[in-house]
């Protein structure tokens, strides 16, 4: 306590290389990041039939649109050869059935919240039958075309009713429009082998 201690000066930490180190970490993460977003077509499979009894669905002929893919990846819609873009139009026409034609699905009047009374093709079925040798790509493009057809209809309806595209609608509005154009797809499972 007799002599005053000389205050020691702490030298400043040299942080010049911190930037370099964090740059290296950054580059590592930049390289390893894949940002891969899991996108695809969401589908719901039907539950297994009870006790293996295949219940023959009781659907009127006018309500069915049959889509077939053969082993050479050709698309048939109601027996006629079609392209995917033609399929998209045909599905949209079929589901909409604007003029209530007797060859197209019958319409039932339903009370949908927000939309009021709508005539909905509630019983229509798009029956898909795919050959076991058809390629997944063809099948996927067909599914995509069907999804596009439905979303065309829903978009149009959303524009008419809410003056905005389907995607921009609120959840309730979207539910209402989806109820107006329900997606009804049935897939037949074929047995046997493949190439």
């Amino acid at each position: 306590m007799f002599r005053m201690r000389k205050p020691r000066r702490v030298p400043g930490l040299n942080t010049t290389s911190t930037a370099d180190i964090s740059f290296m970490l950054l580059t590592f993460f930049l390289v390893t990041t894949s940002m891969d977003t899991d996108k695809g077509l969401l589908r719901k499979l039907p539950p297994m039939p009870q006790e293996n009894i295949e219940r023959a669905a009781d659907v009127k002929k006018r309500n069915i649109m049959s889509i077939t893919v053969d082993s050479d990846n050709r698309l048939y819609c109601d027996g006629k050869l079609v392209s995917t873009s033609a399929l998209r139009r045909q599905v949209a026409l079929f589901v909409e059935n604007k003029d209530n034609s007797p060859a197209m699905p019958e319409k039932t009047v339903m009370n949908i919240p927000l939309l009021g009374r709508c005539s909905v093709a509630a019983n229509h079925v798009i029956a898909i039958q795919v050959d076991r040798n058809a390629s997944y790509d063809t099948y996927f493009n067909m599914q995509n075309a069907i999804v596009l057809a439905y979303s065309d209809l829903r978009d149009r309806q959303a524009h008419v009713r809410f003056r905005r595209p389907y995607k921009k609608c609120t959840k309730e509005q979207r539910e209402a429009i989806a109820a107006c154009y329900p997606i009804r797809i049935s897939e037949a499972v074929s047995q046997g082998g493949f190439r």
Binding site: T15, T16, T18, A19, S22, F23, L25, L26, F29, L30, T32, T33, S34, M35, T37, D38, K39, G40, L41, L42, R43, K44, L45, P46, P47, M48, V69, V130, D131, R132, N133, A134, S135, Y136, D137, Y139, F140, N141, Q143, N144, V147, L148, S151, E187, V189, S190, G192, G193, F194, R195
Partner: protein, 152 residues
């Protein structure tokens, strides 16, 4: 030789003290969005392209099924199914999915989605067998994984 002597300006040194902080912020961003690949691919696949795709929301509740030809094989090989790190066949598929599901939390089990990442040339027979197996085990929500089509 000029008439005026230019005054020499002294340029102040750039202060880089905050540079590490900036870099760290970018780094943290990448750390958060990155998810490391957990599975090593044994099959090679090229997914189909679609236009109106939906995003699978909950990552933790997704089971991936990869279908394609073996990476180390040649063109004549048959298509194989891979879940996690192992090959399975149609008979074993249900068991693997069930055991994966038992490892999930109850909320995830409810919204469990099976994402089928299959090669374009996979025969549909294999795909429908897989779907049939998934139906049997009660995994009804499926996703046909695809790439976004870039050019219209």
């Amino acid at each position: 030789m000029s008439m005026f002597r230019r005054k020499i300006h002294e340029v102040p040194e750039l202060n880089t003290a905050s540079l590490p902080d900036l870099i760290f912020i970018v780094l943290f961003f990448f750390m958060v969005v990155t998810h490391m690949k957990e599975t090593t691919m044994k099959v090679r696949y090229e997914m189909p392209q679609g236009t109106r795709l939906e995003q699978v929301v909950a990552k933790s509740s997704v089971i991936h099924i990869y279908i394609g030809k073996p990476v180390a094989g040649n063109r004549t090989d048959t298509f194989r199914i891979q879940i996690n790190d192992r090959y399975t066949d149609i008979q074993g598929l249900a068991g693997v999915v069930a055991s994966e599901r038992s490892r999930m939390s109850p909320e995830d089990v409810e919204r469990m989605t099976v994402s089928i990442r299959a090669d374009r040339n996979t025969p549909m027979g294999l795909i429908s067998d897989v779907k049939q197996a998934l139906r049997k085990v009660g995994a009804y929500r499926i996703n046909y994984a695809a790439d976004e089509k870039t050019v219209k």
